[in-house]
Structure formats: C-alpha cells, structure tokens
Amino acid sequence: MQNERSETLARLLTQHHQSLFRYVHALVGNPDDANDVLQETSVALFRKLDQFDAGLPFLPWAYRFAYIEVLKWRERAKKIPLPLDNDVVELLARDRDRQDGLLAQRIRVLPECFGLLPQRDLTAIRSRYFDQIHADELAQKLGLSRRTLFREIGRIRRVLMDCIETKLAAEDF
C-alpha cells in the first residue's frame, strides 16, 4: 500500500504543509498558483527524499525545493506580467528563511485574534475569500459600495495585524 518513502513524505508534508503553503503563497501571490507550485514541490521532494538527512529539520530543506519550483513557475509564466520582480522574490525568499520562526509565531496567535472579530467581519472574510464570491456581488449583498467593501477588508486585516503584534509583545514580557 505505501512504501516507506511515500509514508515518510506523507507524514512530513502533513506535518509541515501549512508552512510550505504559506512560503509558496507569499512568493507567487495567489492560492491557485501556490497549489500548483506546491504540487510540483511535492514531486521534487518525493524524488529526492532519500537525500534528506532525517537528523536535520525538514522545512529549511523543503523550502529550497519550493523556491526552485517557484522559479520554474515564474519561467513558465513569464509571458504574463508577474506582480513581483525576480530580485524581489529572491529577497523575500531569503527573508522568509530568516523569519520563519517569527512568522510561525504570528500564525500561532492568529486564531485567538480571529476569534475576536465580530460576526459581520467573519461573514465578509468568509464570503470573499473562502467562498470566493465576486467583490461586486458581495458588496451588493452586504449593502456596501465596492470601495467600502475593500476598505472594510483592509480594516479587518489591520485589526488582525495589530492584535497579533500586541499578543506577541505581551508574550515577550
């Protein structure tokens, strides 16, 4: 049913999938392409898993593969204007490697902050990004202008960012 290699990979990917997804998502800019790139990354990891030193942490090793797959995806997609320039992607990837621990901490406290959002904000976020309702339609349903909807979502992001920072600062004390 499963040979040892795919079992090991499945376990590692299950354990670290969120971190890998976030890494790729930040570098490609959208979840659909991030999923594609992550699939390619998993294939690359599967092929090279025997080179992985089980005594070392998995994520830094896996990020290298993910980064290469991001570059390959950029190469394939080069006819479309990509939002980020090559050198910027390189800088972001380097920074992500360095800030991995900090970024993980932020994600850890996010649920607590998210839980503080009022129902209306939850509905807006869920409808727009989870159910992927078109902005125009969502604005209409919520009785807002399109511009106000985006401003509201921007406000929610800012509230969450501030909340995360406050919680992390409190932990430092």
Binding site: M1, G29, P31, F46, P83, V88, F130, Q132
Partner: protein, 534 residues
C-alpha cells in the same frame, strides 16, 4: 520601522495583489518598496501569511456566508483549499505534472455548482471517470455556470441543455457553456443529439459554428482548432468562420463529413464518414456505490449501481455473488490485510465474506506482463504472484460489467486506481488476460467516498496468509492518511468469454506500474438479471 504612510501604502498594495487588482504602476511601487526595505518585506510576508491563515480560519468558522446567486460558486473556496491535501500525494502529483499547463489562461473559477433545482440551467446528466484540470469533481446533477471554461482532462460527461439537447463530451476537451443553447468547444470531441424542440442548438469551434437542425452529429476539434463535423442523422448547418463574412454556409446531411480549417477550401474539405465517431451515451461502467450509513465515511456496502448495455441497474450488496479466495501470493510487501480493530477472525474473511469497504486482502504480488497460461496456485515458492478466487456461484457473462471490484486508495497514490491484470483461472485458446489501468470511480470522482478507519495487521513469518487468523498478527500499523473507496467493473467479454458463458473464478495480479499494489476490499459478481432503475 515603517512610517504610517508607508505601511498604509504597502497594506493597500498587498491587498490589491491578493485581490488581483494590481495595476502596472502599483506593481512598480510594490516592487520598489519591497526592494527598498527589510521592514516592508517583513510586513509583506506577514500580510501574505495572514491571508492564508484568515481563509483557513474563515473556512472553519460557522460564520454565515452571504446568499449566493446562481453564478457564484459555493464550493470554490473549499475545493481550492482541499486541493491542498493533494500535495501529500506524491504519486498523484507525478501524473499531475505530466498534464500540459493551462495555468496562464484558465479562469480560476470553477464551472459547476450543486444547484439542482433550476430547470433553465445546463446540467451534468452523467459523468464517467470525469476529471478536470482544476480537480473539480464533475458529478451527475451538478449544473454548469455559463461562460466558465471547463478543462476535462479525461473521462466523459453528458450534458443536458434546457431545450432537451444532449451532448456527450469526451476528455481531453476544453469547453464552455456559453448560453442555454450554445456550447463552445475549444478543443476535443463531442456528440450532439438535438431532439425535436432543440433545433437551433449551436456548437462554436475556433473554425466553425455548427447549428443543429434536428439531428445527431459529432464534432472533433484538434489543437489548432481544425474542426471535423460528422452528421449521423438529420441535418446540420455549418458556418465556416474563415468565410463567415461572405455569408458562406454549408449544409451537411446524414452520412456526410467535412473538415473545416483555416487552410481548407471554402466550405471545408470532404473527409471519410465514420459513424463510430458518434457516442450515444456514456460507456457501461460502475456508476456509483452506496454505504449502509447514508453519510460518509462509508463502512458497509449497501448497493452498487451499474450501467450494463446502456441500462442503469442497481444491485443490493446481498444480491452480488460472493467469492472464495483460493490463492494469495504477495511480493516483499508484508502489509496484506486491512482490517477493523479487534477483529480476530480469519484474514481471508476481510475480502471473502464481509461487506466492509475498509477491509480486504491488499498488496498482492503482480507482474508487469499479464498471464498467458494458467496461474500456479500451489501455495509454494513457485506459485504465481497475485490472487485467485472462485465465485460462490458462477457469474454469467452479459453485456457491460459482470464483476465489481472496490479498492482502497489515498490521495498519495495513483488517482486512477491501482492498475491490475485479470486473467481466467484456466486458459483456453479463446481466453486471454485483460489489464485495467483506470477505474470507473477514481480519486477525482465525486462518487469516491471516504472509508472508515482501518488498521494493517501483519505477520513476520512465512505461513500462508489464507490460513492465518488476525489475532496471530505480529504487529499492527495504523495508516494516518484518509483512504477512499474506488470502483471498477470488469467485463468478462474483455477476457474472451462469450455471451452467456458461466465463469467460475478469476485471477488478479497488480500490474507493477508503480510502487503501489492493488488493495481490493470487495469483489462481487453481478447476478444475471435485474430491473432498470432511474
């Protein structure tokens, strides 16, 4: 540290990036900020992560979503996020990468919804192993959203339009339902049936508009848009696009076939007529199965629905003809039994006499080439890898599938199911082995249901498995992945049996096309006769 102004500009740019609304000038500014400052990059990474975390949490929350109109798609977010568990599917991925890349020009939206009540919409009447590029399951009953491109990478779907027109589309195809009576085929093959009242139904291809005048016709569009039209019955009007400005039209009647392309002569070029190019419906197959418990995960098999000779038949599990395993030979893989906890019965009973879809005799041995002579089932070292079984009463060969096989599969493994060879127990000059590479219900089918949890007891000595009790297991492994139940029908005609031949048993071997072996959890013969169901 960021100034308030920089932070505010950056936040807005990142939001536009997320909402895919970044204008060229914004793009320049975003890159400038990120290139310029560590603090900007730090906030960028944090904002992008926030977006991922937020969607995940929003999906888990019970916040009400706004009421959707028909054009919205309530499943998209979930699908998109679920897709992600596919990353754990190394083997599936190897297949996925082999697909050509359409990423640049597909709409990120999904073209199906589950609205089954709108009679004005275009509906999927049936789907057979249908897989789309974006992994959205296509299942009977779903409606298609207008103006959304669907990339059907394999399998077939039958669409029904509100005016009664029926279209069978075969993968690989790229198509869009444009209006309630118009289909656009970018590439691929479709067969159209327009009964009375559906005249005027139109299929657009890159090279022609084909208008139905009460007919059956097939259209085959190649990668450069060249369009072959074959009229099986009635009349179709073709407007070649290369000449449309001159009002050229070509009428094709039954038995006529023409090819329309950029370089062809006006009115297309005549090609050989092939009536076999037309499909009246989907192939015979296992359509679905159901568990006793109506809500997944599935445990005990309740029924199987099979299309045989074009007819839809439903069999209760109790009507299916059971088997007795007479031989089981694995290779080095010692995980050969999937069982429920605390079962101390015979290992063979997991496949033979129970309807539990999470238990069976798994990972049998196999061979790259199928058998051409009788398998050796002595139980000794020289035995043929694989497993043999007898039906409790012989199965009579009829049209379509005669035997149903269900197996366990995870997203980590081949999406189409584990390939296998099926052979007669005793060869004769008319009989042969048959190889099944693709199941009727695959990992991508909406009909594939998750299985209940199971465990993998295994034995460390070489005693024959068929005499073992599960309580003798040396150790037990517990899989930590979700497994699904796939299904395939076996048509005994494919092994050379003639209609009405009585078949006593079969031999099966994994086809060794990858590291994974087949994992059968239920095998049953179909009884001889049955009434049609809706």
């Amino acid at each position: 540290m960021l100034t308030d102004q920089t932070r505010s500009s950056l936040d807005k740019l990142v939001a536009d990036l997320i909402d895919q609304q970044l204008e060229p000038a914004d793009r320049e500014q975003l890159n400038f900020l990120l290139r310029d400052s560590d603090a900007c990059r730090q906030r960028f990474n944090a904002l992008m992560d926030l977006q991922v975390g937020m969607i995940e949490l929003a999906g888990q929350s019970d916040a009400p979503t706004v009421e959707l109109s028909r054009n919205s798609n309530p499943t998209f977010g979930r699908q998109s996020w679920l897709l992600w568990s596919v990353i754990a599917s190394a083997a599936a991925l190897l297949i996925a990468v082999g697909l050509s890349r359409f990423t640049s020009d597909i709409s990120s939206s999904i073209a199906v919804s589950t609205d089954q009540h709108d009679t004005g919409s275009v509906r999927i009447a049936q789907a057979s192993a249908a897989e789309t590029f974006d992994s959205v399951a296509m299942a009977a009953g779903q409606t298609l959203t207008l103006n959304h491109e669907t990339i059907l990478t394999s399998g077939m779907v039958q669409l029904v339009f509100p005016n009664g027109a029926e279209v069978v589309i075969e993968g690989p195809s790229v198509f869009t339902v444009v209006t309630a009576d118009r289909l656009s085929m970018t590439t691929g093959r479709c067969s159209v049936y327009a009964p009375e009242g559906a005249e005027g139904f139109r299929v657009d291809t890159p090279q022609a508009h084909v208008i139905d005048l009460g007919t059956r016709f097939s259209i085959d569009v190649d990668e450069v848009g060249q369009t072959d039209v074959q009229v099986i019955e009635g009349l179709a009007q073709v407007q070649p696009l290369a000449t449309s400005d001159k009002g050229e039209q070509v009428l094709l009647k039954d038995g006529q076939a023409r090819r329309f392309g950029k370089r062809n002569e006006v009115g297309g070029e005549s090609i050989e007529f092939e009536s076999a190019s037309y499909r009246t419906g989907l192939p015979d197959r296992i359509v679905r199965y159901a568990g006793v418990d109506p809500s997944p995960p599935v445990s005990l098999l309740a029924s199987v629905t099979v299309q045989r000779g074009g007819e839809m038949l439903q069999y209760d599990a109790g009507e299916l003809i059971g088997i007795e395993v007479i031989h089981f030979m694995a290779d080095e893989n010692r995980l050969n039994v999937a069982a429920v906890a605390d079962d101390d019965g015979l290992a063979r009973a997991t496949l033979e006499s129970d309807r539990n879809l999470a238990t069976g005799l798994i990972n049998p041995g196999g061979s790259i080439t199928p058998l051409v002579a009788d398998p050796i089932m002595s139980g000794t070292g020289g035995s043929t890898p694989g497993f043999g079984f007898r039906f409790k009463t012989p199965v009579i060969n009829r049209v379509g599938p005669d035997v149903v096989l269900l197996e366990l599969q995870s997203k980590l493994h081949a999406v189409g199911g584990d390939g296998f060879h099926v052979s007669p127990l005793r060869f004769s000059p008319d009989l042969r082995s048959h190889t099944i590479k693709r199941y009727d219900i695959t990992m991508r089918s909406a009909e594939a249901l998750p299985a209940v949890a199971f465990q993998l007891p295994f034995f460390t000595d070489d005693q024959p498995l068929l005499s073992r009790r599960l309580s003798d297991a040396a150790r037990i492994q517990i899989p930590n992945l979700q497994f699904y139940v796939l299904a395939v029908g076996i048509d005994l005609t494919d092994l050379g049996y003639k209609m009405a031949d009585a078949v006593e048993g079969l031999f099966m071997q994994d086809d060794l096309d990858d590291d994974q072996r087949m994992d059968p959890v239920f095998i049953g013969g179909l009884p001889d006769m049955k009434e049609t169901v809706q």
